[in-house]
Structure formats: C-alpha cells, structure tokens
Amino acid sequence: MLKIGIGLFLIGVLSFSVTAQELTGEDIIQRVNQVINPQAMYAKAKMTITTSSGSLRTFLYESWSKNKGEKNLVRYLEPVRVKDQATLMLNHADDIWMFFPRTQRVRKLASHAKKQKMQGSDFSYEDMGSGDAFIEDFSARRLNDQTWEGFDCFQLELKRIPESDISYSRLVIWIIKDRFVPVVIEYYSENDPDRILKRLVQSDIREVDGIPTAFRMDMHNQNDGSQTGLELLEVRYNLILPDSMFTERVLKR
C-alpha cells in the first residue's frame, strides 16, 4: 500500500514536472489569471504608505469584486478624513465613479484617472482594479525559471499589446510553480521599457476557500523610494454578490 502511495506520488510529481516544463507563457498567465481573479471576493485591508521622507499614512478599507474582477467597489473606513469615500470600477476599471461624502457628489472619471495614485499610495487605480489585464493587455513570454524566497518560480515577461492603453510597457513576474500565485511583479515605464518604476512583492500566502491568497503586498516605488504595504485583514470568496451592489445607488450609501 505504501509502495503504491509512493508510486502515485512520484507519478504526480513527474507529470507536474513534465507539465510545468511544457507550459508556455500564455498557459501560465491564464492559470495565474484564474487564481487572482476569483468569481467573487470580499476583503478588508489595511494600507500603509511610507513616504520618501519616512512619514506613515494608514487607510482601512473594504472591497467587493465580482465577475473575476470586472466589477469592483471600494469603501474607506479610516481615517476619518476619507471615511465613506467610495470608488466604483466597472469594465475592469475602464469606468470609474468616485463618491465624496462631504459633498454628497458622485464624479465619473475618465479612464486616464486609472493612472492616478490611489489615496496617494504607490498603487494606482489601474493596479487595483484591472482584473484580467494580464491576459487582455499583454502578451506573455516565458523566461528562465527562478527561485524566490525558497519557492520554485516561473518567470514571465508580459509585453503590452499595441491596442492596450495600460500605463506600463512591460511587466516581469515571478510565479510560484505549484500554486500559480505571483510573488513578484516588476512594472516598467511606458516610455522606457528598461526603466523599472515599481516592484510588488507578495507574501504570507494562505489558502482561503481553496484559493491561495497573498495576505501581504508591498509595492516599492523605485523612483522616489516610497513604499505602500497592503495587509489583508479578512478575505472571503464564497459569496453571491448581486449586480445591484455595483451601482451608483450603493456607491452613495
């Protein structure tokens, strides 16, 4: 019985190895896209911005997403300065509405606003709400495998396709082989493909509802030395979120 078990294990390892070897860049990024864009998601997160001068700014927010990241709603809880401010992103952040509770005003933003920093952080709205941008806006090419923090990783280069309006010329991604979770993403300048703008490191990966989830994300801005940490405090995937939740009516609540 033990021998059979070992045999099955070896077959499994070998078949994974063969599969892993044969996977193309496009195959891998499709698998990654499935992992990072669950059908529905709720998260409560703490975002800490460390400015280049060393000052800290902390935000607490809740977010809901649906249709593999196609619809997103973010609502701030803290600090009081931005409490109840909310952002609705539809069509993978191509359509953005922001609600300002102090003026009770909803403002529709054009897609160029995706480039703006989210609350002054090193994450742009595009970084947060682009859903399947990895497969829609880039073509993937597999590079040599790498090791990151003890994990065997695929390394991919994603090059922006000509018709995309995404703000980066290319991305280089390290992906844990057996989980298809990105652990490092390097973002390169739109105008200079050799100039790295920022680097995202994901860590503290845990299984939630069967989905590997990075509970810690750190975005390092390579230009000014600032960095933004994102810590997930609560995550849920097995949710049924109605479409009516992603409307201006709910945005204003």
Binding site: T103, A110, N191, D243
Partner: protein, 396 residues
Amino acid sequence: MKSCWMAVVLLGLAVSATAAPEELQIFGYFEPQYLGTHISAGYYQLFTNKLRVDVKSVLSDKITFAANINTITYHGKKEWNILDFLAPDIRDTIPVTLRPLYTLPFENQTLLDNAYVRLSLMGFDLTVGKQQISLGTGYVWNPTDVFNVKDVLDPTYEQPGHNAVRLDIPVDGRHTATLLYAPEASWGESGKLLQLKGGAGRFDYSLTLIETRWTFHDYSRFDAGSLNFAALPERRRLWGGSAVGELLGMGVWAELAFNTMERSKDFYELVLGSDYTFDFQTYFMVEYYRNTLGKSDYRTYGLNDWMRFFTSEQKSVTRDQFYSLVQHPVTDLLVLGFQCLLSLSDGSCSFVPLARYSLSDDTELFAYLNLNIGSEGKTYGCSLGRAGLLRLRVYF
C-alpha cells in the same frame, strides 16, 4: 424654527441611542482659517473657527440617520462693505448715508446643517430632512444647480444642506429617476425637481426639470418695510441636462440649463469641460462657462450685477469665462496647483496658486493666493484686491 430642528436632532439622537452601540458614529472636524485681503481701503483679515460634528447611525440596512451641526466663530474684520470691492464709478453712485446698507456681516452661528433620514427599500430611496443637493457635472459652475453656488476659488468645498423630501427610484442598473420637493411657505414658492439620470456607452447623462421661486433684489432701492433691498420674487423654470464621459482618451463633460423667468429676462447657462491625467501624475482641467445673465461689455456692469453676484443671486457678472487647473503631487504628502480664471468677455483674469499638505492621517493644510490682475471695473479687476487663505483641518 430653531426648536423644531433641535427636536429633529434630539429625535435622531434618541433613535441612534436605540441602535447597537457600534452603529452610532460621531465624527467631524475642526477648521481654523485665516483670510487676508488687500484692497484700496486697506488690509482686512478675518479669522474663522469652524467646528463640524457629524452623527450617523445605520439603524438597519434599510434606514440611515445622519446629521451635522456647524458652529462658526468669526474674529477680526467682521463687517465687510461690498462697495469697498467695487470700482469708484459704481461706489460713487451710492449716497454716503446709504453705504452701511451694503455691509456683509460675519456673525457667529450654530447651525443644523444637515439632518435627514434615508429609507432604502427594494424599489427606491426616500430621503427626508435637511440634506445636501448636488446637481450637475461641472467642476466650478453647475448651471442645473439652483440650490447652490460654488466658490470659484474653492469649488470642492462642501455645500449647505437644504430642507427637502427626495425620492430616488432606480429604473435599472444604470438609470435612476429622482423627484425632489423643497417646501417653502406655499406650493408655488417651493422647489420641485424631476431628474432622470442614465448611461449610454462610456457616457453618463441627466435630464433635469426644476421649478422654484427665485428672488432677485434691486440693490438701488431700499424697502423700509422689510428693512432690506427691494425684493423681486418670480417663478423660475429650468430645463437642463448634463453629460460626462470620455472622448479621445480625455475626460469630457457638458452641462446646459435654460431658465424661463416669470418677469425678468430668460437666460441660459452652459458649461463645457475636459480633463486629463498625464503619466507623470500631473492633472490638467479646463472648463468654459457661459451665462447670459452676465454681460459681455464690462462698461455695462452695474451695481445690481455686482451685488447679485456677491449675494449668489446670479453666478457671474461676465458672460463668458474660462477656468483652468494644473495640479501635481510633488511628494506623497504635498500637492501643488495653479488655477486661472479668465473672463473672455472683458479680458481680466485671476491667478490662484494653491497648495495642499497632509500633516498626518487626519490633519491637512490648504492654502491659496488670489491675485486679480484685471483693470478696474472688470470681472477680476484690481478693485477686488489680492487675497490669501490658509486653512487647517483636523478630523476626529
């Protein structure tokens, strides 16, 4: 009336007290502000302390109560005579004995700014009480908004609440019908609004109908009976619409309102705007505004034009204006910007450099200078002086 509002607040607080403790939220901000203005009459400075206290209680997923009280104290020069800001040829038409009537007093106040209950049921949202009413897509000017007039130097500052009953009925995911009634002494004097908001492609639009009582004053005639300038109330009907979306990668918006007046001349207002964020995070916005209540020849600007502008009875003295804003986050904490207001009708302009600095998570500093460089008698003429504002806001 005051006691009535106090009762609403007490009722709200009592209702809030019955809610689970974690659902009762008390927050707000303290805002000391300094405003200095240099005009020909001298240097005026006004210090303001504003305390805003908000109460919000989510009693269930269907009922929300929210209110805020503002207490404002003024110090320094607390009486500003509007005539001091006008060109001598207009000022000299007013007899010296009547000039004190044109004084704008800044009196300490405690005000129930907003207090409303919102019922969110399956088919509609009903909001009853004193509430903010924000209409239109324009950034500096909103032709379809008869309830508020923005400060062109600080257009994102919060607007006061208005007593109203508002019904929002979602038609589908993207379309909403809104009915609003702002009661006054009689049905005829009350504000009535019907609006349809919707979306088509990358654009959102709204169609708005409003009927209300509008009161211009004749600032050259004083009514001894009311101890005020002669009031000229009349019915105002507004047919308007707005749209916001994206064109060639740029944000674009438009807002148009035709006003038919019972007695005075009909007029229309139009706003066209566009904005863009560059890759290097610099934000750029322009807005064009036409108001046919305003005049195209500055030599015809009269006392009533200026007084109606200063008292928000009309949104501009001049007919055509252009606004631009450039803003850039210099660091993660500091944003610098530059606004320019230009009267296309008389060629005067105002430069407004501004800065916003985050001192901590809940403390921010805002400052601007206001440099009017037009010749005397024009919209942004030198008679309006040169001003500076420094505002600290601490949230709690």
